[in-house]
């Protein structure tokens, strides 16, 4: 028993060392490419591009399920993007609330009988397509409930343009976001199959007419933690992964795809969460198996603002869903592709990394904790060793956090106030005391849900952007 624990201890130290070094390594790639990205964006003429006839047209797909509170503002904001030619397709996924009616009322939409829906992908029954010539680039699809993936597939069936952008109905795009992503696409239109955008937390920001008019960090505890978490994941992680073409996920909240390849891989997989990771895995698989040159890119300056859950309950359900989706994807695709040279970087680096350090992470953490109890009971350790081990862990994590903040400050500077930087630093440390651990537990619970065959989407409550604003107002008043 003692021997076993000893071996496990050595393994655990290596595990922690390797995972953190890998994180740092990936982050180095982020640093390496950030300067290029920065120069690219400084020397690009986005204003001229946003009216240019050479920019490829895009179909924006907005799946909406029970979004009556925010949908109008979001569609309004989507209709005034800086982009030459695009259409917005809202897909009402059999909402139980007034989502369909508020849209029809607001935009005076009418049932259109000759909308050309091509059945390239199978979906739930489409009840109707609504349209108003006064808003020539807005379509509304009403269909039976079938989940987010199903809605996206229905949107693809109606879409008229070669690129599709998937956007969550609770998110707001910056006016330039689409044109920035399109520029990345235009660098290499032949090979680019998917591009992800940067997701940021909108809680605390001032939002007017569907536009983020004043950028602020969230006032509340949980959104603030998530804000840092997203910064780390997107700036520290995804820029680096994109640099070695090993990106495994393009966030479902905002991503742009080549429609032809999405159709070739069979569209989005319905019936289970994690469809955003799934489509990227399928794209990698298809392109590599057919030996086609390709890239999955990430565009950190195309920003999409999203509402973060601000209660433990809803956050927990979101994280369990992510855990579930991740496990499903790994079982369905990951285990057949992992460590096979045929799948190059994706099979040799991304997938092993993802399986070891993301999917199996909770088990290492939990057994680690058990082992720790064992060490203490068997008197194999002392406070000194534990402290060093803990400090090493936190130091690494802090380094990664600082790295992400540094990337943010070098390249984007969305939060220019000094107090914001101090606040972000503080939360970077705070994350290690409780939040991380709870995240691990959620992921584990997600796996249990998977085994029990629970594949619901879980609850996600929305607050209206206006209510959010009012809330922030009142909290400001309280502080003042």
């Amino acid at each position: 028993m003692r021997d076993f624990l000893l071996y496990y201890g050595t393994f655990a130290i290596y595990y922690v060392f390797v995972i953190n070094s890998l994180y740092l390594f990936i982050m180095l790639f982020s640093f390496k490419s950030i300067m290029g990205i920065l120069k690219n964006s400084v020397y690009s003429r986005y204003q001229a591009l946003s009216g240019s006839p050479h920019v490829p047209p895009i179909s924006i797909l907005v799946p909406a399920y029970n979004e009556e509170l925010t949908i109008i503002e979001n569609v309004r904001s989507l209709l005034s993007l800086n982009y030459p030619e695009y259409e917005v397709i809202v897909i009402n996924d059999g909402s139980g609330d007034e989502t369909l009616n508020v849209l029809i009322e607001e935009f005076k939409l009418q049932l259109s009988h000759h909308a050309a829906v091509q059945p390239v992908l199978n979906t739930e029954k489409v009840r109707g397509v609504y349209y108003n010539p006064a808003f020539p680039n807005l379509y509304l699809i009403d269909k039976g409930n079938g989940g987010k993936a199903d809605s996206l597939n229905a949107g693809i069936n109606l879409s008229h343009y070669p690129l599709i952008a998937s956007i969550d109905a609770d998110s707001l795009l910056e006016k330039d976001a689409l044109i920035r992503i399109a520029r990345v696409y235009m660098e290499n239109p032949e090979e680019t199959v998917a591009i992800g955008g940067d997701i940021r937390i909108a809680n605390g920001c001032k939002i007017e007419d569907g536009i983020v008019s004043e950028i602020r960090l969230p006032n509340k505890f949980l959104p603030m933690l998530q804000s840092i978490e997203y910064l780390k994941a997107f700036l520290g992680g995804r820029i680096g992964w994109a640099a070695i073409n090993g990106l495994i996920i393009v966030s479902g909240a905002f991503g742009v795809f080549r429609k032809d390849y999405v159709i070739k891989v069979g569209g989005y997989r319905g019936g289970y969460p994690g469809e955003d990771m799934n489509i990227i895995i399928k794209l990698h698989k298809y392109m590599l198996e057919n030996k086609l040159p390709y890239r999955v890119a990430f565009c950190p300056d195309a920003v999409c603002w999203t509402q973060a859950p601000d209660t433990w309950k809803i956050l927990g359900s979101q994280r369990r869903r992510w855990g579930r989706g991740n496990l499903k994807n790994m079982i369905e695709y990951g285990k057949y592709m992992v460590l096979r040279p045929k799948y190059k970087i994706f099979g040799l680096v991304t997938l092993p990394y993802n399986i070891l350090f993301e999917t199996l992470n909770p088990y290492f953490r939990i057994t680690g904790l058990l082992a720790l109890i064992g060490y203490v009971l068997m008197d194999m350790t002392n406070a000194y060793v534990l402290l060093i081990y803990g400090a090493l862990n936190i130091l690494y994590g802090f380094l990664l956090g600082i790295g992400a903040l540094l990337l943010e400050e070098i390249a984007f500077r969305r939060y220019p106030r000094f107090q914001d930087i101090v606040k972000m630093l503080f939360y970077t440390i705070l994350m290690f005391f409780g939040y991380r651990q709870i995240g691990v537990i959620w992921r584990f619970l997600g796996h249990i849900e998977y085994l029990r065959n629970n594949n619901s989407w879980g609850t996600m409550t929305r607050t209206s952007w206006k209510a959010e604003e009012k809330k922030t107002m009142s909290s400001l008043e309280v502080r003042g």
Binding site: Q47, A48, S50, G51, S80, A134, D209, I211
Partner: protein, 262 residues
């Protein structure tokens, strides 16, 4: 924009039913509170035996405005004497008065009122009453009025200064909704609009302007990023007189504007 213009616009909407004349009295005052405003109102109504007087006061310019229903110029002049008396009794008068009546000719627009406000603030003397003849002289001092609807603040500020130097009256609206509102209040000679606007886009704005127009039409110039032929075609179909794409030359824009309104 001056708060009096908004008040005037409201007054016009209320009084529009059936009357064809209205009088305006502007007076330079000292700082007024809401209490003294209602005091003046009462005193005026007593003096003039039941005359309907609508008072409005703008804090920034310290101008008191009285809007009168169904009053021709001489009646307005008479009421102005009473206003002057009331103000003098209370020691609130700070300068001269300017009156106008829209009975005889001109369409009353926000621009005329803005010009009047400017004139009354520049007037010397104390307690003098002057008639505002501007609408009879035609438009000598300004080359025309322009409403600029655009979301880019930098461009707005620059164009406003640039066009003002050329002698135009320029008003700015930040989005489509604001644009429609200001259009209804001011009825400018020319509208310069972007296509890509929040809340209500340029096409809807043009549509609304087209529906609203009675009498001489406001010209529309589209100033936008969009270079697609679809957009050009559609803009002209909706009544645009010109289509300019960004990046644009301000000199060229001014030349095109001049061709349209002069």
């Amino acid at each position: 924009m001056n708060s009096l213009v908004t008040a005037f616009h409201q007054f016009l909407q209320v009084s529009k039913s059936g009357n064809n004349s209205c009088g305006i009295i502007l007076a330079n005052c000292k700082q007024l509170g809401p209490k003294s405003l209602s005091g003046i109102q009462e005193a005026l109504e007593q003096k003039s035996m039941g005359l309907q007087v609508n008072l409005a006061y703008d804090r920034n310019s310290r101008v008191l405005a009285a809007f009168l229903e169904k009053q021709n110029r001489s009646e307005t002049h008479f009421t102005a004497l009473q206003v002057k008396d009331v103000l003098q009794e209370r020691g609130l008068l700070a300068g001269s008065l300017l009156i106008a009546s829209f009975s005889e000719s001109n369409q009353a627009t926000g621009y005329t009122l803005q010009r009047m406000i400017q004139e009354v603030m520049e007037m010397a003397g104390f307690g003098e009453i002057k008639l505002f003849y501007h609408h009879l002289d035609g438009r000598e001092d300004t080359a025309g009025s322009i409403l600029l609807v655009n979301h880019d603040e930098t461009v707005n500020e620059f164009l406003q200064i640039f066009l003002q130097q050329k002698g135009y009256q320029v008003t700015i609206a930040q989005d489509g909704m604001d644009g429609v509102q200001k259009y209804q209040e001011l009825i400018p000679d020319l509208v310069i609009t972007d296509l890509n606007l929040p809340i209500m886009n340029g096409y809807q704005l043009m549509e609304r302007i087209r529906q609203q127009q009675e009498g001489p039409a406001s010209k529309i110039v589209v100033l936008t990023d969009k270079k697609l032929e679809e957009d050009v075609k559609k803009s002209f179909a909706l009544g645009a007189s010109d289509y300019i794409t960004k990046p644009f030359s301000p000199v060229e824009l001014a030349a095109r504007v001049k061709r349209l309104i002069s």
